[in-house]
């Protein structure tokens, strides 16, 4: 079916983009080449998968990496027993999933969680149970403003900001209209920072909020236009952003505005879905390294996916961030005293002590720290949709906002600046 064909072709495209890579065995954990046979270490993961969205790419990629680690010595001979649950975008099921993994199964940590719902529901539980969630596909404020959740992905706030900053600095934008979801911990939270940023640079901004199920994106687009904006920021999942662009195409608005978007539009299917009309006209912020860069970790990610993931598992940004969370988690466990890796309190302490991990998949260092907020990833790339693909138009750059002042203070205290 199309699903499988498309994902296989995406995988092939991603592999091809990393041209020149040797078909070597992936590097995982201790790399002993021997399967781990000791007592399993239970690790949990929660993802959201039900119409209209699928965030399972992050846990799929983490599972692939853990499988690879388990075949390469595990954690000092102990395999990782990675158990994943689907919250189906249902708060009750999200709470049940956390309870099952954290309280019943006794997981030492949660890795690569990806959901719109789960973090808001379970942040308190994680704190009470003293367990860390090294998430990978976050989209709401609770994921970045909680003591026991840290994510490798950026979420909409930094990615929006990065896109607006690029537009203001490179494309002459003065007034940005941010079209987002009418969900307080998503749309208003992530659009407001763009408005603040534009005003801090002498410009202006506004937000137009859509109900997630709203069929009519045309009104939001017209509302954005009526504000006098010169730039339209589509702070939406790819499907809705495409609908906004289609409505704009209907009105032939392409050349009258600057069109920018955060990471969700960085999807290999998007350029073809948009068509020739938008060639060279849409700029997208990417929160992790664009696929064509192909650094050592990016190559290893693809090798792990090819060797251990299912062919239909996506090779996308959430898969990158899931892989990255899993590698950071394994690295942390391998540095711990082997007798402590099954002790949740010790694992939590070790995760909170993470500082200065680097990867070519991420612009800045990864750290956690013992704070009530975590957003280590607040720098990124900009790409432009050109000739059916993505062209990098700005290399790693840090996003400029007062929002990051507390984060920068933590980075200074950890000696990362």
């Amino acid at each position: 079916m199309k699903l499988n064909l498309k994902l296989v072709s995406m995988a092939a495209a991603a592999s091809f983009a990393l041209a020149g890579q040797a078909m070597a065995a992936p590097s995982c954990g201790a790399n002993t080449g021997e399967a781990a046979t000791g007592e399993p270490i239970i690790v949990g993961g929660i993802y959201g998968k039900a119409p209209p969205g699928d965030f399972s790419a992050s846990t799929d990629a983490a599972k692939a990496y853990f499988d690879c680690v388990n075949e390469n010595g595990g954690i000092n001979g102990r395999p990782i027993d990675y158990r994943v649950e689907n919250d189906q975008w249902n708060p009750e099921m999200a709470a049940q999933a956390a309870s099952k993994l954290v309280k019943d199964a006794g997981a030492v940590a949660l890795v690569a969680n990806g959901s719109f719902i789960e973090m808001a529901v379970n942040a308190k539980t994680y704190k009470e149970e003293n367990i860390m969630s090294m998430a990978a596909a976050c989209a709401i404020s609770e994921c970045f403003e909680s003591s026991n959740i840290v994510s490798t992905n950026q979420g909409p706030l930094p990615s929006n900001l990065g896109a607006a900053q690029f537009a203001q600095e490179e494309l002459g934008s003065k007034n940005v209209a941010c079209i987002g979801f009418n969900i307080p911990n998503n749309g208003p939270w992530s659009c407001q920072v763009v408005i603040d940023f534009m005003q801090s640079r002498g410009g202006d901004g506004s937000m137009q909020l859509l109900n997630p199920g709203a069929p009519d994106v045309n009104s939001a687009l017209l509302e954005a236009i009526s504000t006098g904006a010169d730039t339209i920021l589509m702070n939406l999942p790819a499907g809705l952003a495409i609908a906004v662009l289609k409505a704009a195409e209907e009105q032939d608005l392409r050349d009258s505005y600057v069109w920018i978007a955060p990471t969700p539009l960085y999807d290999l299917s998007v350029p073809a879905a948009l068509g020739e009309y938008w060639n060279g006209k849409v700029y997208v912020n990417t929160e992790l390294a664009p696929f064509q860069l192909g650094g050592p970790d990016a190559k290893n990610w693809i090798e792990v996916m090819d060797a251990y993931a299912r062919p239909e598992d996506p090779r996308d940004t959430f898969a990158q961030s899931g892989y990255l969370s899993a590698t950071y988690f394994v690295k942390t466990l391998l540095m711990m005293d082997p007798k402590d890796v099954g002790d949740r309190a010790k694992v939590t302490e070790a995760i909170k002590n993470i500082s200065g991990y680097t990867s070519d998949l991420m612009c800045g260092p990864y750290y956690v720290g013992d704070t009530d907020f975590h957003m280590p990833n607040h720098a990124g790339y900009m790409v432009q949709i050109v000739d059916g693909g993505f062209k990098i138009v700005r290399d790693c750059y840090e996003f400029d906002s007062a929002y990051f002042e507390p984060h920068i203070a933590v980075e200074k205290s950890l000696g990362l600046r």
């Binding site: 209209p52 199920g213 009519d216 499907g239 495409i242 195409e249 209907e250 299917s269």
Partner: protein, 314 residues
Amino acid sequence: MNWVVYVVVMITIVSFLGWGKPGKIIGLFFVSGLAVGSLYALGGIGMVVLYRATGVLNFANGAIGAAGVMVAWQLGQWGVWGPATWAACILVALVLSLGYGRLIAPRLAWREPVVKAVATLGFALVILGIVSFLWIDDPRRFSLPTDKTGVYILGLRVTVTRLIAFGASIGIVVGIYFYLGRTQIGLQMRALANDRDLSALIGIPILRIETIAWGISGVIAGFTGLMFGDLIRLEPSVITFMVIPSIAAAVCGRLDNLALVLIGGLSMGVIESLLTLSPVLKGVRPIAPFVIAALVLLWFQRGTRLTFDGKDQA
């Protein structure tokens, strides 16, 4: 009397929501609302046509349309000629509708209307489940050649596709009106809708008539799916649940009067769109169709009294 009230209410609402805004902006939102409203109306008309003939309120219309347009998109991806993909969409919708109409609906023929309606909801979820399994969540776009050309109305560029949707909603209302009023099958459909038992006794071929009704409904659902996929977005769940505002449009016509369904759908689209202009009220846009439907029902049943057996008494 009703028409006068309707015109006064609409003028009041448009004036209130557009107060202080430039005429061009109001025009943009008005025309945009008409475009969305014609889709609500189209969905509602398909439901009412079937309901009038079979007594089944088909919640699966959206899912049937979604399945059709996904097949059309898939065939397009495989390089199949455009018109053949559109025909495939209609055909898939026709087959699904007829399949339900012939295999499942007759087994529920003597059950209460609510049971029949809930059964179609189950059918909708089965279709949505299969469609979501076959086509995972992924950015897609479905376009028709008629998207390329358009005309400017009150400052808004309206594509030929939107004009087709608008024209079709009117055309179907007129066509069905004459079909039901002037043809033998139309007469039999009306008889069936009035009293199924009596219709059977006087020799009306119930199964044949109902099959035709399900077929017509399927074709309308397929066409609506094509329009939704192009003009709303190509997401099966969104298209499936477009049936909800369509129900509100159908309720405006009290599941009977197609002209009122059309006007109700268009009015809902316009009011929903104009609510965007109000900083205070734009948050209630998603519930606007249902509030309007409830108000219309209250207006039409004024002076009547509901009894426990469900019959109205003057």
